[in-house]
């Protein structure tokens, strides 16, 4: 009885999908009528029968600001698929319907939502929640139900501890691999000393942990090394030390709010290292608006650019995003999220909605995405290298590694005085 009640609540709660329009509602009603009168056997897939794709989003809470871009990509992908006539399920095109709930940025809610999506809403496919902690929370659920899901906005060496099989991560920016990329580029550009700043959040600390030994091995001196808590509001004291040390490069393992503080105050103090790396944030639209020209020369993490001609759909993704949302997508998260959709789409086109078949396909196939070929080993995407972006002349360019780069690293110009 409890089940029935909750079932009803669920039915109520499924988000209305306006995009599907009235005709679809009519079809759905007819379908329901047909099932009710026993004309159709339940379980028979009809071309009109939508494919339900479920996920949790962080509409409120800690991640709400950062997660906004993720939802936008999911919506964009759905629109594109439906515009193409629907999701190709082993040859049958069926419309996509998104079912999502707010997780309040709370990992406990994430667990609940994925259980609800699987057992209550009986979704056909799953997409990922936002952030590393939510991914790890959801990993337990998909493992229990053997429900394959491609993750996107998570990066941590801890992910490798998750039992592989039902979850994969599209990122190429695992902190250890990022460290290797950074040091390679340092060596190439003759950088002998750096200053290192790190937020005390998991990803930035992991990045630091892997970078420091790699630097030592390469004989690069760490002149300043500071950590700060996420609530920092001013970096003057730290940056004065950095300026006095006068390193060849500054590496700020930072998150958006402190990245903004770094950029603001490094410019004020005139920190003129030719290589300045700011980890998370510069790819976001707000940074371009807030800092404009001052962003030129800043290096950040990311392995995508619409300019790489070898990647099918890269430019199209950029254009359609700008068209729909009137601002450029994040070069970091947008491709990660979009790739996860593409991988799922290609797997479904090949083997249909059977979960075992999807799992096998994702685990073994190579996928062609907007960010090039993706291939998984365990939970990890080994097809995409850890990349570095640099803002050059107001544009985001991919400068590392050479295999995918569309431009070369340029020493950072002086901060604009205006």
């Amino acid at each position: 009885m409890v089940d029935k009640l909750v079932g009803k609540l669920n039915a109520l709660a499924v988000l209305n999908n306006n995009a599907l329009g009235e005709t679809h509602m009519l079809k759905k009603a007819l379908l329901a009528l047909a099932i009710g009168s026993g004309l159709l056997l339940p379980g028979t897939a009809d071309a009109a029968d939508p494919v339900k794709v479920g996920f949790a989003v962080a509409k409120t809470g800690l991640f709400a600001g950062a997660a906004d871009g993720q939802i936008k990509i999911y919506e964009l992908w759905k629109d594109q698929v439906n515009a193409r006539g629907g999701l190709d399920v082993k040859g049958v095109k069926r419309p996509v319907e998104l079912v999502y709930y707010d997780d309040q940025s709370d990992a406990g809610k994430v667990v609940q939502i994925y259980e609800k999506l699987i057992t209550g809403d009986k979704v056909d496919l799953l997409l990922a929640p936002y952030g590393t902690s939510s991914h790890i929370a959801a990993a337990g659920v998909v493992e229990r139900y053997k429900f394959p899901m491609v993750g996107n906005t998570a990066a941590s060496v801890k992910l490798r501890e998750i039992k592989p099989g039902n979850i994969w991560f599209t990122t190429g920016q695992m902190p250890d691999r990022l460290a290797v990329s950074l040091v390679e580029l340092f060596k190439l550009k003759g950088i002998k000393s750096i200053a290192l700043l790190a937020n005390q959040l998991p990803f930035s600390l992991e990045s630091k942990t892997y970078l420091v030994p790699a630097l030592t091995k390469a004989g690069i001196e760490v002149k300043v090394s500071e950590e700060y808590p996420p609530s920092i509001k001013d970096m003057t004291a730290m940056l004065i030390n950095v300026k006095q040390a006068n390193p060849d490069a500054v590496v700020a393992f930072s998150f958006p709010s402190d990245s903004a503080i770094y950029l603001k105050q490094a410019r004020e103090l005139g920190i003129d290292a030719k290589f300045q790396f700011v980890e998370v944030g510069p790819t976001e639209a707000a940074f371009a608006k807030q800092f404009g020209e001052a962003l030129n020369g800043i290096v950040t993490m990311g392995h995508w650019t619409p300019d790489n001609k070898q990647w099918t759909g890269a430019r199209a993704l950029f254009d359609s995003y700008v068209q729909k949302y009137n601002e450029p997508p994040s070069y970091l998260n947008a491709p990660l999220v979009y790739m996860s959709c593409q991988i799922l789409e290609q797997a479904v086109a090949k083997v249909g909605l059977d979960r075992d078949a999807i799992r096998k396909t994702i685990a073994t196939d190579t996928f062609d995405t907007v960010n090039g070929p993706v291939k998984f080993e365990g939970i990890e995407n080994v097809g995409t290298p850890a990349g570095l972006l640099q803002i050059q002349g107001g544009n985001m360019t991919l400068i590392w590694p050479p295999s995918i780069a569309t431009a070369d690293f340029k020493p950072k110009p002086a901060w604009p005085a205006k």
Partner: protein, 305 residues
């Protein structure tokens, strides 16, 4: 303490008994909702033992929850998780006693802010400690099944409800309420005020510590800024406030009401849910300051005969 009425105890046993069979006939999702309901009941009941009864409002109960979770991840792999849970409760309790000794001399809104400050202080200290240890987040691999965790949480909710009920109807409870109403007068009629407040504080930290330890296994992930999230403290206060009352009914009603509301609203319109939540809080403070319990069951009347 007065004997527990037979009817109340029968209902209690029947509800707990029925709830413990939920995994057998309910879907996983129902169990998940029930687990979160049990969690909030356990937390709000614990809060009531201190704050509902003595009037010392805590905006820092996330500290106890976080401590519990931290103990669980620290002992993971070395200690049986089911041993870690009571240990987590104990550590939280000791922490409360140590912090409460000076803190409970601070009164009224200052106490509210102090508890918030202490919880944030603890959070940032643990962030710092974890960073120094080179541990930026911890994973729990191989946690007990969700059903086992649900039963554990149900047990905690039952225990917390029982504690609140027993305290509320005991001589100790009378003493605590007297402290809430008029601390100096309470002292004058022979109530050992300082010791009682401290005892209540310790008691109200014990279960949240264990809840944190169970939830760490449920989430299989620990990161200080999430485990010590101030939102946990706020949610507890809102539930207890909307439930109202200084006995075991208030937190039950508050948790039931909010979980129900969130199941109905949050999924379809998250921001609207939060707005409604805020509006409810305003409404309850202005028009029903004694909460749902008073609206449903009438005044705070209690006859000890």
């Amino acid at each position: 303490m007065q004997p527990v009425p037979i009817r109340t105890s029968l209902i209690f046993v029947a509800v707990i008994g029925a709830a413990s069979f939920l995994p057998q006939f309910g879907s996983e999702y129902v169990v998940a909702v029930a687990l979160s309901f049990a969690m909030w009941v356990a937390l709000a009941q614990s809060w009531t033992v201190l704050c509902g009864m003595t009037g010392y409002g805590s905006f820092g109960h996330a500290a106890f929850y976080g401590m519990g979770a931290y103990v669980q991840v620290l002992t993971w792999g070395t200690l049986s998780p089911w041993l870690s849970v009571p240990l987590a409760g104990l550590v939280s309790c000791l922490f409360a006693l140590a912090a409460g000794y000076p803190a409970l001399k601070v009164r009224g809104p200052y106490f509210v802010m102090l508890t918030f400050g202490l919880a944030e202080f603890l959070k940032f200290s643990i962030i710092g400690i974890e960073a120094t240890l080179g541990q930026f987040s911890r994973l729990i691999i191989g946690a007990p099944s969700p059903n086992a965790l649900y039963l554990a949480m149900l047990g905690l909710a039952a225990a917390a409800t029982l504690i609140t009920y027993v305290v509320s109807n005991s001589r100790f409870g009378y003493g605590l309420r007297a402290i809430r109403e008029e601390e100096q007068a309470a002292e004058t009629i022979g109530i050992p005020v300082a010791r009682y407040k401290l005892t209540a504080f310790g008691l109200s930290a014990f279960i949240p510590g264990m809840v944190g330890a169970v939830m760490a296994m449920r989430l299989s992930y620990f990161e200080p800024s999430q485990a010590f999230d101030a939102l946990i403290s706020f949610n507890i206060v809102v539930m207890a406030m909307i439930g109202g009352s200084d006995d075991a009914r208030g937190p039950l009603l508050g948790a039931l009401f909010l979980i129900g509301l969130s199941e109905l609203l949050w999924a379809r319109a998250p921001q609207v849910y939060m707005i409604v939540l805020g509006a409810l809080l305003v409404f309850f403070v202005l028009f029903a300051p004694q909460g749902l319990a008073k609206q449903l069951f009438g005044g705070a009347r209690r006859r000890a005969t």
